[in-house]
């Protein structure tokens, strides 16, 4: 609303929003704090917040125990690869749905989404057998394909909604100006939908990064990403809160940082067509 808001009201909003924001963020904050504590401080009663002896020891232990770099690289490659591949396949599909819609377009779109409802555990066996046949067990490419397929419906849907907001006249103008289909997509459609594509990419990076079932079950040593890394920390013996925190922080930090830096894109683009 254009109406000026009193400073008092603004102050109340600010206080309330920050309180809630911090409350929501608290579990993450606590995890990060704990990762810098000793095991004893981590379970101290009463809990300590900021005033303790900060230590990097836990990170040292984790780094020594596992090859974090390799897990990280696998996560990046798998999340990035599947997203990229997904976008490449989804762009033409979304283009045709948005600009050459048929009577069945919406059905196809919803059908695509419904494929996401296949319970993963139910099909683990078939997929595992298939992967063995194809010789892509424990390979990045195998995971890239699976995660791409899992997220493809979401990518198509998101791109579809962004493309639909692009006026058809612009594409026609490009056609009049002599652009072929390829030029149309490269020079006009893609740059115009860039904010939307950016947010699609982001969302799918997050989803792929956090996917924990397939990445765990289809990998061994070669292609295991951070989800597998964290699986080796989920219940070690003895006191482990601080180490667990360090491992957790290391597993989520890259995507958290990426997310924070690009939250504007994400916020702007995350509509799923919920907004016309």
């Amino acid at each position: 609303m254009a109406r000026a808001v009193t400073t008092q009201r603004k102050a109340i909003n600010t206080a309330l929003a920050w309180a809630i924001g911090l409350l929501i963020f608290f579990p993450i904050l606590w995890t990060i704090l704990t990762s810098f504590k000793t095991e004893a401080t981590a379970i101290a009663d009463p809990p300590v917040f900021f005033f303790f002896d900060w230590t990097l020891e836990n990170y040292g232990v984790v780094m020594e125990r596992s090859n974090y770099g390799k897990f990280l690289w696998n996560s990046i490659a798998i999340a990035g690869g599947s997203t990229l591949l997904g976008v490449i396949i989804a762009v033409p599909a979304a283009w045709s749905m948005a600009f050459v819609p048929g009577r069945r377009t919406k059905d196809i779109l919803l059908w695509m989404l419904s494929t996401k409802m296949l319970p993963a555990v139910g099909v683990l066996y078939p997929i595992y057998l298939l992967f063995i046949k194809l010789g892509i067990l424990d390979s990045k490419i195998g995971l890239i394909i699976v995660l791409m397929l899992i997220n493809l419906p979401i990518i198509v849907w998101m791109l579809y909604t962004y493309f639909r907001e692009i006026p058809g006249e612009i594409l026609e103008a490009a056609r009049m100006d002599g652009a072929g289909l390829k030029e149309e997509i490269i020079h006009v459609l893609t740059p115009m939908a860039l904010p939307g594509i950016a947010s699609t990419v982001l969302l799918n990076l997050i989803l792929a990064w956090n996917e924990a079932f397939w990445t765990l079950n289809l990998t061994a040593a070669e292609a295991a990403p951070l989800t597998a890394f964290i699986a080796s920390y989920s219940s070690p013996e003895g006191l482990f809160f601080a180490k667990l925190s360090a491992a957790s922080t290391m597993a989520i930090a890259p995507i958290l940082i990426l997310g924070w830096f690009s939250q504007k894109q994400l916020v702007r683009g995350l509509t799923f067509g919920a907004v016309k």
Binding site: E39, R65, L124, N217, Y233, F240
Partner: protein, 412 residues
Amino acid sequence: ETLTIATVNNGDMIRMQGLTDDFTEKTGHDVEWVTLEENVLRQRVTTDITTKGGAFDVMTIGMYETPIWGANGWLVPLDDLSEEYDVDDILPAMAGGLSHDGTLYAAPFYGESSMIMYRTDLMEEAGLEMPEGSPTWSFIREAAAAMTDRDADINGICLRGKAGWGEGGALITAMSNSFGARWFDENWQPQFDTDAWNETLTFFTEMMNESGPAGYATNGFNENLSLFQQGKCGMWIDATVAASFVTNPDDSTVADSVGFALAPHKEGIDKNGNWLWAWALGIPAGTQKEEAAKAFVEWATSKDYIELVAENEGWANVPPGARTSLYENENYKDVPFAQMTLDSILSADPNNPTVDPVPYVGVQFAAIPEFAGIATDVSQEFSAVYAGQQSVEEALEKAQALTTDAMEAAGY
């Protein structure tokens, strides 16, 4: 060659990862580790072995899997190990549990039983004394009640209540043996409708409610370990390997006041409530790197490896429970819990675990493929009792029904 090895994330295995350079040096083979939490590991290797996926060259498996897999021919038989490896040095109970038809299918990395760990100081304060040999359950209950001081945050006894056949399920099954109960009769009929089971579960629940920690229904090994290390438990009946953790002054606040005793039994029953378990290394049949894998298994479960650990980390931290020679070693005799560990292991008999005869092998499990699934369900029903969500009778009734159903499904 590079070996891919699936392993569990416990302390001994992590330690081994740190020492692999020694293996590489000796053999020229590299090693890639896939370290997973126990449940994830089990599901992961099982999927791979049943589908012949070949993702791993060596797998860390337990006493439960080994005989089943060996029977299916999925594991490379370990019948041609080298002279110096000295197969016969492996404790017979361990070798027995890791064999099928007399052939060894996995080499034990370490073995464990369960025993009582208790706080000598608290016991003294309570004016009690731990008897020699196996105490009775009623003594334990009494002692627990005496040690409990809720204001000081001390619980008389900490036991696993967490759902999962390898967690609370293991404890209650081992305990039921000492109450004269069994899972199946000789015709594979589930036995949860017997008084023995009722008594076991009732006793456990009552004792834990009296003297156990809050929320014990979700406590497993790790939770109890922390509690004990924090000085919040008077007694803890759990894996013998825990002994080295609770006596390690770096982690444990009560390191110098821990005593050990054999697991308890019920009056008039000559089975103790202790279990038998080993983490062992097996080689999936069909691996391309059988030779290298064997070399690794030999290395990791050898006497030399024990020496290596002792050199680097001290005798208290060597993998226990696998080899007779360890217990004959002079250096190891100084370790306070060594003898009790050995005694506990020796007092468990996987082939004859219960008072009444049973058709299965395994102390705290039955080595049949269906057991893991059934026992998980059953232990969940039990945990619901611990959490106060159902009665003992309800739980047993459900356990009986679901076990019957599952056994039927499996074609018994």
